[in-house]
């Protein structure tokens, strides 16, 4: 009797994960392995396809300033928007989900709307705002006397980086709020009510109850943000590859918004170099950094847990 109970218990988790891993073996394993193999070749579409060992990686790590700069950029971006997203996202979610607010759906939807705005429209809106000669921001600032001369926002390295950070923040805040909302919704309301009856202030509730409860969600959001942050490509490309805002500037002014994945696209898909080997090597090199920083932050999270 007991034995059958055990075997029943043992069989089920494997059955539950089977669809994922079986389909993984059939569909997704090969692309990953093949891409890694690609990174060891000099494959381009002009006839080269030779095995060259770690040559691509050597080039990237020791002779390629673009690669290092692109990595630096994504780290700067991440530092710029991730803390803001976590803090503002949590606050906003807890305000929206609190008793103060009636029409929660409206507020959730309006914050999330940024995530649903189509890239073409976003590209045009940002171009209309930040354009050098005719942009609304410059016109406004000159009119009210804040500026004497128009600033080329998208043309200088620092402001270009800030615009990318703003864009990512604006787009992803709703996404963060959604996940926090899901986390909060599953918390038993009575915990909050009990705390309020006990005389806890809103601040106490937030720091003592909400934050700890959201910890697993935060781990998830921060890890996935590191992953997607280092793989960032859409926003800077939208601003600078020209299909929405005029001329293209691969990597932005001074390469200040170049990202590893943009570089990968640039090397293998977008330019006429078609260097698949190099592109694959960029992908796997970026993976190394993502793994490193994800492991560090997971460790950090777990340490905090123990310290508590």
């Amino acid at each position: 009797m007991k034995a059958s109970g055990m075997s029943r218990k043992n069989k089920w988790p494997y059955l539950f994960i089977a669809p994922y891993f079986v389909s993984y073996a059939v569909l997704s394993l090969f692309p990953i392995v093949f891409t890694f193999y690609m990174s060891l070749t000099d494959w381009d579409l002009y006839g080269n396809r030779n095995f060259i060992g770690l040559e691509n990686y050597k080039q990237l790590f020791f002779h390629d300033s673009y690669f290092w700069k692109s990595l630096l950029n994504v780290f700067l971006f991440l530092l710029g928007y991730l803390p803001a997203l976590v803090i503002v996202g949590m606050l906003l979610a807890s305000v929206i989900e609190s008793k103060l607010i009636r029409r929660k759906t409206f507020f959730r939807l309006s914050v999330f709307s940024a995530y649903m705005t189509t890239p073409v429209a976003v590209g045009i809106i940002f171009a209309l705002f930040f354009d050098w000669q005719g942009g609304i921001l410059n016109q406004l600032f000159v009119e009210i006397g804040l500026l004497t001369e128009k600033i080329n926002w998208l043309g200088s390295a620092d402001s270009a980086r800030w615009i990318v950070i703003t864009m990512v923040f604006w787009k992803n805040l709703g996404y963060f709020v959604m996940f926090y909302t899901a986390g909060m919704a599953s918390v038993d309301r009575s915990i909050y009510e009990a705390a309020i009856i006990d005389g806890a202030s809103a601040k106490d509730v937030f720091f003592r109850i909400t934050m700890p409860l959201l910890k697993p969600i935060n781990l998830f959001l921060i890890i996935t943000s590191i992953i997607s942050g280092l793989q960032l490509v859409e926003e800077p490309m939208l601003l600078f590859s020209g299909w929405a805002s005029g001329s293209s500037m691969v990597g932005g002014p001074d390469g200040s918004t170049f990202t590893p994945i943009w570089y990968m696209f640039d090397a293998s898909f977008d330019s006429s170099a078609f260097k698949y080997g190099k592109g694959a090597a960029i992908a796997y090199s970026t993976f190394l950094f993502i793994a490193l920083f994800s492991v560090i932050s997971i460790k950090w999270f777990n340490k905090e847990d123990k310290g508590r």
Binding site: Y14, I96, L100, T117, V120, T181, G183, F220, W243
Partner: protein, 271 residues
Amino acid sequence: MKGLIKWSSISLLSIFCLIFLFPFYMMIVMGTYYSEDLFRELPILPSNYLLENLKTIMSANFLLNYWNSFYVAVLFTVLSVGVAGLTGYAFAKFEFKGRNVLYGFILATMMIPGQLGLIAYVMEMKWFHLNNTHAPLILAALNNAFGVFFMAQFIRSSVPTEVIESGRIDGCSEPGVLIRIVLPFMLPAMSTLGLISFLGSWNNYLLPLVTINKPELYTLPLGIANLSTVFRTDYSASILGLTLGTLPLIILFLFGSKTLVQGLTGGAVKG
């Protein structure tokens, strides 16, 4: 005093949300403009070109592309949420041999930038004779590592193990426990993941671009891309088409939000 705090926080929140809503609003308004007029002044008030733009997108097989995108996105979402929910549940609430290794593997695969894997994926699809169908787009849902991670994290924190145990003691089979007891707790997470998956499938561009060579199988973004010629991009019509594309999402959001995020959980806890 309390009222003051309440009203100031509400109005602050409202202002904040309006700022966030503004670009979305602009996007809707942009669909009513003549494309080149977008650049003439800030498109804030609706213009008079909506019908023309509608005509333009209708001439480009809009309804068929819309339907293709829609049913692909629905199947994608169902598959993605289903598989991720099952897998995440197993990792969050079971002890089994190889658990940590397999979970670590899922996390690691999530970290590999997958865009170049596209080439190999297209090769596979060729071997399975699935190119030029919607299958490559839908099958991609099966390996949503991100979804598994989210589900596992969520279930770990939000589904009490005692409830599961009591279900087992009551004599439920494991699938029974999952469906009857755990599922209600998972609904908020599933709806969030569902929304994100739906949006991801809906906006997917590169994969359909390289796997589909038949106009009648085109998804909405591909159809919209063909509105533009080399020389002139009809931004307004494109934006209108893509805005209409977000319609099912907004409906999902408006009707799903309240029921899924709160209603069912409350019910589940009490029941």
